[in-house]
Symmetry: D2
Subunit: 279 residues, 4 copies
Amino acid sequence: MQNEPTVAYGDQVLFVNRERKTFLRRIKPGGRLQTHQGVILYDDLIGLPFGYRLQTHLGEPVWMLRPSLDDVILNLRRESQIIYPKDLGYILLKLGIQPGCRVIEAGTGCGGLTLTLAAMVGPEGMVYSYERREKMQAIAQDNLRLAGLDSRVTFFLRDVAEGFDQEDVHALFLDMHNPWEFLGQAHRALQGGGFLGALVPTINQVAVLVDALHSEQWFMVEVEELLLRQYKTSPGRIRPEDQMVAHTGYLIFARKLAGGVPLAGDRTLEEGDEGAMQD
Amino acid sequence: MQNEPTVAYGDQVLFVNRERKTFLRRIKPGGRLQTHQGVILYDDLIGLPFGYRLQTHLGEPVWMLRPSLDDVILNLRRESQIIYPKDLGYILLKLGIQPGCRVIEAGTGCGGLTLTLAAMVGPEGMVYSYERREKMQAIAQDNLRLAGLDSRVTFFLRDVAEGFDQEDVHALFLDMHNPWEFLGQAHRALQGGGFLGALVPTINQVAVLVDALHSEQWFMVEVEELLLRQYKTSPGRIRPEDQMVAHTGYLIFARKLAGGVPLAGDRTLEEGDEGAMQD
Amino acid sequence: MQNEPTVAYGDQVLFVNRERKTFLRRIKPGGRLQTHQGVILYDDLIGLPFGYRLQTHLGEPVWMLRPSLDDVILNLRRESQIIYPKDLGYILLKLGIQPGCRVIEAGTGCGGLTLTLAAMVGPEGMVYSYERREKMQAIAQDNLRLAGLDSRVTFFLRDVAEGFDQEDVHALFLDMHNPWEFLGQAHRALQGGGFLGALVPTINQVAVLVDALHSEQWFMVEVEELLLRQYKTSPGRIRPEDQMVAHTGYLIFARKLAGGVPLAGDRTLEEGDEGAMQD
Amino acid sequence: MQNEPTVAYGDQVLFVNRERKTFLRRIKPGGRLQTHQGVILYDDLIGLPFGYRLQTHLGEPVWMLRPSLDDVILNLRRESQIIYPKDLGYILLKLGIQPGCRVIEAGTGCGGLTLTLAAMVGPEGMVYSYERREKMQAIAQDNLRLAGLDSRVTFFLRDVAEGFDQEDVHALFLDMHNPWEFLGQAHRALQGGGFLGALVPTINQVAVLVDALHSEQWFMVEVEELLLRQYKTSPGRIRPEDQMVAHTGYLIFARKLAGGVPLAGDRTLEEGDEGAMQD
């Protein structure tokens, strides 16, 4: 149970040394943390409280913490650009993610968003994650297993041009080079009013995607970006860090339109949609 | 169940008119949405899909959406500054909030963070929310009831100088003018390695709080701020909005230290802590 | 002479009242400042030091300052978007503007950049300012006269599609909707290596302009934007302002290429350029 | 003369190679540019236009540009933090710097602001630059000589606690660790209404300086910061750079108050000031 205050086998633990270097590990019987400043045996840790300061066999201090989702994301094994925690948290809120939700994402990438969604939908929810590169999917599956969240994800190895298997999902996120090509598939998979999200890095992509979303299918199109500024915290000399991440990507959100009652002189619905509404 | 694609009594619904003005309402039998552009009767909506376009009795279009957490927060009844969604999402990740967590916050304010935490800890978790102003607490309780999340919150009407009733909580957030005065109480309530968060608006407060956190009790002190930039989305003329929110507050995070094995020549632990470690 | 510490007829003066409302005026014999808090007669001010606190006939305090360029810009009579001081200062540095420079700008607009350039090129330099809207030009001419800098500007009422009359200018700034259409004219007017600047508000314009600048004619293309964050300065409660200007425009800079010695296998010069280099 | 379009002995030239690496050099008879991609002899360049593409003896291209002030600043020999061009341009506008101005700065540092001020005050103006570290002053003097602007600067090797030699200067800039300690000296040196500027890196310094400026001596206190965001300019893939400078310093501005007419019940002037106003 994740709120237990002491270490048990199977826990994910964040070790931090004197220089604030972090090591994210899962505790297994007989395992060990090996650092330049000495070794720590996992078996010695069982039952100790988190937040505890340990000693390596060389006498060096190492602190033992429960990782935040933020720590886990930043320590993922990765072979592609990840979505940063600053964006992940905001995506959760904008997509209305809550325990019990069913959500689609494409592509899986190395699994950072997958993991965040899986954590938040809880054991009652489900994440459907599509990826066409076998190698990337394998990395993501590893990352989810390490985090103990793989049971909340259904992985698909597939080009999303073929469509999604789900219907009436609560939200759908497109982390792809050309999300505008899959808006039809996304629309079919979402429930009415469902949340669409996308992340693209260039302004050229923003321009194409926004154009594509200005149709009768989508509503409340938003383009946003988040800048995170971190501070140095030496007492008496507090100041922003010299450097910051200037850009990760533009976040784009929209809502699925599902049809509506006929409206005199209305041009915002397709022929088909209007017909469907008459019964 | 929140993932149902059609409207039922008891649902929270976001109505949006032609000018993108939003109305957040809970659907009750016999109720109605009253706007300058006409009326909509709630009873007519039952069973219609979300994402649907309605018509008022004056023939004006109104769209019907399921609100995101972001929509709910921005539509709260409020008499104090709220924490913005950009910060709320990040706080969730930094505090490691997940379904099942037990979390404390002080003060309750109008309940924006309370509501976000309640949504994310799910039915298995619990939020303990402290506030000493009766009126603010009543507003927050209303807001939580409207969102249908009040069963996940235990409210306390109390000055936190008297301490918190809980122990071993996963995370604790201080949204107060003088959070540095309650670090002792917070430390006692948190589990080892537990997540502390705070939000303060001025640099003077940041300076005092960071000073207070540089002690043997806390670890990994971080000061951060998030800037959200929103874009105009007219196709062919995409550009950032002219104005943005320049500041809501500085976010401060730290982890509780719980003690440790004795360390030769060590100065980072108090006398008492070291004694406790010897048995 | 601008460094005189006391007020004389002809000076531009910034009056500031108790609420920090500012009034930019030129001092003429017999003139007066009329405010809701009373009147001040200009004739009473001659010989008084700047930085002095006056009293209106109603006993209300008014301070008397020499305006900075920043103050003048923000108080311009305007009928169009101005370039903000944060951008103006940076443009000066990026274009290498110094006393004695000859500079072209198009369009004139209400004259904010014109005025800044005129101030900085000094009496030895010259600003050539092109505008096709007669009304805008008249406003700019008024603004320059008020600032006493009109003798440093040559105004042209003309569509820049017809080209510029000058050659070998040091720098050229395009503040137009479609700057990419005038790059040929700009190239002919600039000296070799000369500084090109432009400001456009939308990402769609940035995309087109950057495309057009990636040719054999231009070099060192840069796209930049500046964000200015202002702070509230109440002692003990210092914090960023709640709101800020989120966007004024994207700044684009490039340098004119003038030709070169022939280079084996080289593809970066046009046929004509290479021929010209052989003698 | 700086606007000549061809290279002459004595010119400062910016050489740029294929990888956009820059070399800032002053052209002397018999000199040479030595790079890993070959050599260029300065004598070969006389009379060639700026913006010209050269070839090294190894056949590699090198472009020859006139440096902007921005280029010169970023290529300064330095042993301390410089003020960045984004801030320098804004400082010029906020301090009302124009050709002919007399300005004080302290400390000199490596001369970046000195050089900018010297460029802008022109041959009729003067910069008085104070520094107490002999080595830093020597570096700044070298940098000014290289830029050909040393005749516009009077250097003082002195602790500014001893005061400034000038009176009635137009503006004064404090680039020091503890500017609040020298506000009295600054006030005496400025003309009435004169422009005070300062740059400090930490929020703790901002808090102390703002406190000190809230007195009867100063007016219109402003705290600001500028963020510069640069974009990658590959056509079709335009996006902000991944990293940016997150902080250089907080800019603080104020105006000198010089006294005023007596005001009933007024508390904003000192006894002495009021006495001086009665005659």
